[in-house]
Amino acid sequence: MRQPRARGTAVDAIRIGNWLENFAGYRVQISQLRISRWFGQFENTHQDVAARILDCVEFFREDHLANGYRAVFGRLQGWSKKASQRQERWRFVAFSTHAGENGDRMLHTFRTATGLSATRYDELFIHRSDLLREGLTAEDTVVFVDDFAGTGNQAVTAWNESLGELLPGRPRTYLVLIAAMSSAVQQISAQTPMTVKAFRWFRARDNFFAGECLHFSSAEKAIVLRYCELADNVNPRGYGDCGVLVVFAHRCPNNSLPILHSNRPAFRGLFPR
């Protein structure tokens, strides 16, 4: 979580300009009008805490995503662009693949960022449904690519329900992420053979509602929770109670506070999913 401005700092042109610059490139244009409308949903006395939340948002632009993937990929052992120097077979697969969402997009970003766009690398990028037919063994490596792991539940379920069955030869398996909650990484590591490699790790202090988060007082957290309940009464602290303030250029994860991404009439987030 980024450091917010001091309490009572004016929401002036400079501060708004910083937000506009910071959030440029989101899938929905973040304009001054949109920010004003978002603020308008808070009572006057609560707008200071709302502004400080925006200060804390970690926004990952497209180039940040590319840098993140490049950095993480550079740490994977056994990889070489030269096939002769590469440790056995490597395969790259999008982790999420539901219609219209970001699985393929993330894989594309990963591929471009890591300099593997050339057609000679096509065979390395496969569909999840190709995994079983590939007959990968313990010497081979599979790299799943996604953006964020909030709870780890999705990855564990995926492994138990299908991935485990699609990788009977138990190749070395990485889950490459831009960001992950450390608790999610622990869960995935404990319950699946996947090794998580994340560019940015979020810890308990990055959870807005956690006691470890010292940027906001208990009273401020209670105020924000009320707005979050308006935005999403099922997961007011973000999915899995993650309470993070993270936004990717292509989408705001549902683990972030719902006042950031909700699209409900009762409260419209600044970063609709």
Partner: protein, 300 residues
């Protein structure tokens, strides 16, 4: 088939419980808690009486369970340190898949796509595509084999959607199985505008957005197409189906061609035996218009 039907027995031994791994080809991911509880009670009292069947996976350097995963789960939960096991030679991938299919009968609520992909590996390895042979080999119901093969006919991107990690966002196998007859209809495939993947994507979007009541709506679509074809209304149904595909707010009824339905009924009647015709001509369920047309057809 080059490989034998089952791996040969090597010997009986005692293996530490924590050194065993479940078989990755086991299609049974969930175990009913009640029978497991009964088994656990039995094992707690008398121990494991029937040894597990295991093999040593050379590449992974670990023991893998071929048969007895439920006993192993119970042993773990009971804190039993080692279990008796019959060691068999490491099976080939084909032997392993066949054994797993034979041991664990497919349950209706299991996801079908992983099973379909496993079946695909068998089909490639054994060069066998016949439904009855595959059913015999795996112990799967023939209808399940047919359903699996239908899923495998879809593009990889759709297969991937059926494997999505988020259950609520995972595309349902039933959707694709019900769509299959429409997608492979000869008339539809001849339509100039028709592209299978585009059509599939549009239908998937329509389904996800509530534009279809159920996956069985594809049966209605197929029925409308058949009726139109029987009445010689290919041109109209081609246009209507294209409109239905492009405009997501058009209801299925848009595909119903009234004159085609009537012509189709009349044609059916002309093909019926004489005594059936009499029966239909006097039926009270028929409208006067239908009777009039029917009478005209029968006279001519």
């Amino acid at each position: 088939m080059a490989q034998g039907p089952s791996p040969g027995i090597v010997g009986v031994k005692t293996i530490p419980t924590n050194e065993l791994e479940p078989n990755p080809h086991n299609p049974r991911r969930l175990f009913d808690p009640e029978p497991l509880k009964t088994l656990k009670g039995s094992i707690a009292k008398v121990g494991i009486l029937v040894p597990l069947t295991v093999y040593w996976a050379k590449s992974r350097k670990t023991w893998v369970i071929l048969d007895g995963q439920r006993r192993w789960i119970c042993a773990q939960e009971l804190g039993i340190k080692s279990v008796p096991a019959n060691e068999v030679a490491e099976p080939s991938i084909v032997q392993n898949i066949v054994t797993m299919f034979q041991i664990h009968k497919l349950r209706a609520d299991w996801e079908l796509m992983p099973t379909a992909l496993t079946l695909e590996v068998l089909m490639i390895a054994l060069q066998e595509r016949r439904d009855d042979k595959l059913a015999e080999l795996t112990g799967l119901d023939r209808a399940v084999v047919t359903r699996c093969k239908k899923l495998l006919s879809f593009s990889k991107k759709y297969q991937d959607m059926m494997l999505d990690p988020e259950p609520e966002k995972r595309a349902k196998a039933d959707f694709f199985i019900e769509l299959y007859p429409v997608l492979h209809d000869r008339t539809v495939r001849r339509m100039a505008w028709f592209r299978p993947d585009t059509f599939t994507t549009k239908m998937l979007r329509r389904y996800n957005e509530g534009g279809l009541n159920a996956v069985t709506d594809f049966r209605k679509i197929k029925q409308h197409i058949n009726t139109a074809v029987r009445a010689g209304k290919q041109k109209i149904i081609t246009q209507r189906l294209e409109e239905f595909t492009q405009e997501s707010d058009l209801p299925i009824e848009h595909l119903a061609i009234q004159s085609a339905s009537l012509t189709s009924k009349v044609r059916e009647i002309t093909l019926l035996p004489r005594n059936w015709r009499r029966c239909f001509a006097t039926s009270t369920r028929w409208t006067s218009m239908q009777k009039m047309i029917c009478g005209f057809v029968l006279r001519n």
